[in-house]
Amino acid sequence: MGVVVGARNVLARLASAAPVRVFVLAGSDAGEIENLVAALPLEHETVLVDSPRSANILLAVGDLPPSLHEPARRVHDQMSHPRRTIRLSRTIREKPDAIFPGAIVHEESADLAILLRKVHRELLTGAQLSEPAILSDEEPATWRGVGPYGQGGTGMTGGVPYGRAMAETAPDRDGLALDQLSVRVGPFFPPFPTGLALVVKLQGDVIQQVAVSDNPFATNDPTSDVESGTADPFALALHRPVPVAELEMARARHHLRWLAHALHVQGLDALGRRSIAIARSLGPGGVAPIAELTRILRRTRSVTLAGAGVGIAAPDRVRDRGLGPVARAAGLREDARAEDPAYQALDFEPVVQAEGDARSRWWQRLAEAFQSVTLAARAGDSRAGGNGRIEAPRGLITIDSDPSTEALALIPDLLNGLEWGDAVTSVVSLDLDLRATIFRNLA
């Protein structure tokens, strides 16, 4: 018995020094906390995992709308023991937390990595107890199948009978009758933005039909206020002039953080971490690390392998919708900065690509990051904005419109007929943020 306890203690000591396996739920209105989470992959002691199954820490950041509370709890209950939830939000109004009753609640945490490490260690050494399930462990509907896998049950095939996806026969793109599976992906599928849920009909891994569920963040929540957006210079620039250098550095950092996420989805975690490191240490005029990263991606042909000919958004589909880099990647010279006197004084010219595919959108954002750092170095103390519309990293934002809402409408056409991997690459390349609808509330 003593040997077993001793061995367990040795294992616990070793395990507590292992990288903390964290699954992130990113809500809205997280402010600076979101930047701390984005930098977590740079910590040797932290791994952001793609599946809650192998996570020990659930990091819930910001606010989640009520419609996402139950899905968030389902994510929680999928985690392995020992597990713990850390809830970080600037505007926590209830303790214990309304979504995760057992969560460790912080209103801010500058030392996020240290907090994660501490909770992880205490969890593994038994100093903290593992959280129980929040939801009852019941099947979503009565199992009516016959046999161990329900293969013989009446009514257990076709569509989503009794809450479970079951295959049905349907013609494929070549006219053959093949199994088709209806599934819902999201709202916490890591490659997608938080809140995006797709209802897809799959044949193998080919998408035959896709529908986008309602945006859970698109509410007129009266609790949102102007102050909540102060961390974002583009939100501020809607209402008052902001230094161009600040806007452009924020744009470059945004594109590099997006690139890190896109690289992760393509299996290039190390290069993704490099991109985050560049974003963190970026200064005006410091184009060398961006140029070096671009060179690596060109030489290894990773961007071409991932996105050449994938998710083509034709100019007609994206014209005059304020889609920013998505439109410019299709060859359209749409950029609100070109109409701003501050940018005109800097001889600003929008950079554009031609093909409009996912590859073009990657190169577009890298080129814009490069351009932004150069602009920031030349901008001096010039200011832009204050007239209710501004070219943000994702596109044109105004008091009553945002590019993500516009881009959501592209998804069904863009994804139909694609293999799942290409569909994910396409969605990632749109750089959606459903939480951006908060801008509407800022009005």
Binding site: L11, S54, N56, Q78, H81, P191, G267
Partner: protein, 311 residues
């Protein structure tokens, strides 16, 4: 009784060699990852990383899914590890120390590696969950594309040796390694090997766009075993590559076994570095390129090797 003891020692030594290979693979992966990321290298942390990660998975709960096929799910990592272990038997570590100098060692290796498809598909199918299942499907398409080039380039190395024995193939490289004699062979073998070990950029069944694919529902010990077994397959691929193309245990001054280890680690390093620099390949593109480019090139490699052997 003595014979049984000897076999037991041999089995344990295979497990030990493979475990060491897995350990080296994981450490290399951490170090190369840190270098590519441009982060400060932490050698001690990298050396401890496999132990710490393994301890965490041992203590982590093993989760399950609704109506999973528990028996086959448990079998999948064991099968993958067994395939890697058994394949090592035919690879000579030195002139006299192959566990089993099988006359048709190349065929034995290829036959075992064909079973990787079974293990990966089982892991994907038996979870009774969407993303693991798609991961399993993906690997079947991937395997049907890399298996032909893999088999052909290995047959190419057997022609100059006039034998299917791996030891004979190593002996045939005493004056000239196959990497020089058959320049198409090693690059094609490494690409196919990355596919076989479903290692990035061909980690399609376990890719991030499937939230981990066949391993997305795994946690704890099953996840530890699965990842360990996958690394073991990569070790087996590297070891066979060292024997078939880099002269195996041939080399000056140092003992043959040391040369074999150095060459295996060198190939591991090449494959791991590729994995950190080249992004996930689209499955459709890989299938097309494999059938249109790799298989014809592998055929050219075999024909050239045959003509050279006849001279």
């Amino acid at each position: 009784m003595i014979g049984l003891g000897r076999h037991l020692v041999e089995v344990l030594s295979v497990v030990l060699v493979l475990s060491l290979g897995v350990y080296i693979t994981v450490v290399l992966d951490v170090i190369v990852g840190q270098a590519v990321a441009g982060l400060s290298l932490r050698p001690l942390s990298a050396l401890m990383w496999p132990f710490r990660q393994a301890a965490l998975f041992v203590l982590q709960q093993r989760t399950s899914t609704e109506r999973a096929d528990a028996a086959l799910w448990a079998l999948a990592p064991a099968l993958l590890a067994a395939i890697a272990s058994a394949s090592l038997l035919a690879i000579p570590l030195s002139r006299t120390s192959a566990y089993a100098d099988i006359d048709s060692g190349i065929v034995y290796f290829g036959a075992l590696m064909a079973l990787v498809m079974v293990a990966v598909y089982l892991n994907g199918w038996s979870a009774n969950s969407l993303f693991p299942m798609i991961g399993g499907y993906r690997f079947i398409a991937q395997a049907l594309s890399y298996e032909m080039p893999l088999a052909l380039v290995l047959i190419g190395t057997a022609l100059p040796a006039e034998s299917l024995s791996v030891n004979a193939i190593v002996l045939s490289q005493e004056s000239l390694w196959n990497v020089v004699r058959q320049p198409l062979g090693l690059p094609l073998y490494l690409i196919a090997g990355l596919g076989l070990a479903f290692w990035s950029p061909l980690a399609l069944p376990d890719a991030a766009d499937l939230a981990g694919g066949t391993e997305s529902e795994l946690s704890g010990m099953p996840l530890l075993l699965w990842r360990g077994a996958r690394a073991a397959v990569l070790v087996a691929v590297a070891a066979m590559g060292a024997a078939a193309f880099l002269g195996g245990w041939h080399g000056p001054v140092l003992p043959g076994a040391v040369w074999m280890v150095i060459k295996t680690i060198a190939l591991l390093l090449v494959m791991i570095t590729i994995g950190h620099l080249v992004g996930r390949v689209r499955l459709e593109r890989f299938v097309v390129v494999a059938w249109v480019v790799f298989i014809p090139l592998a055929l050219v490699d075999v024909f050239a090797a045959g003509i050279t052997a006849l001279e």
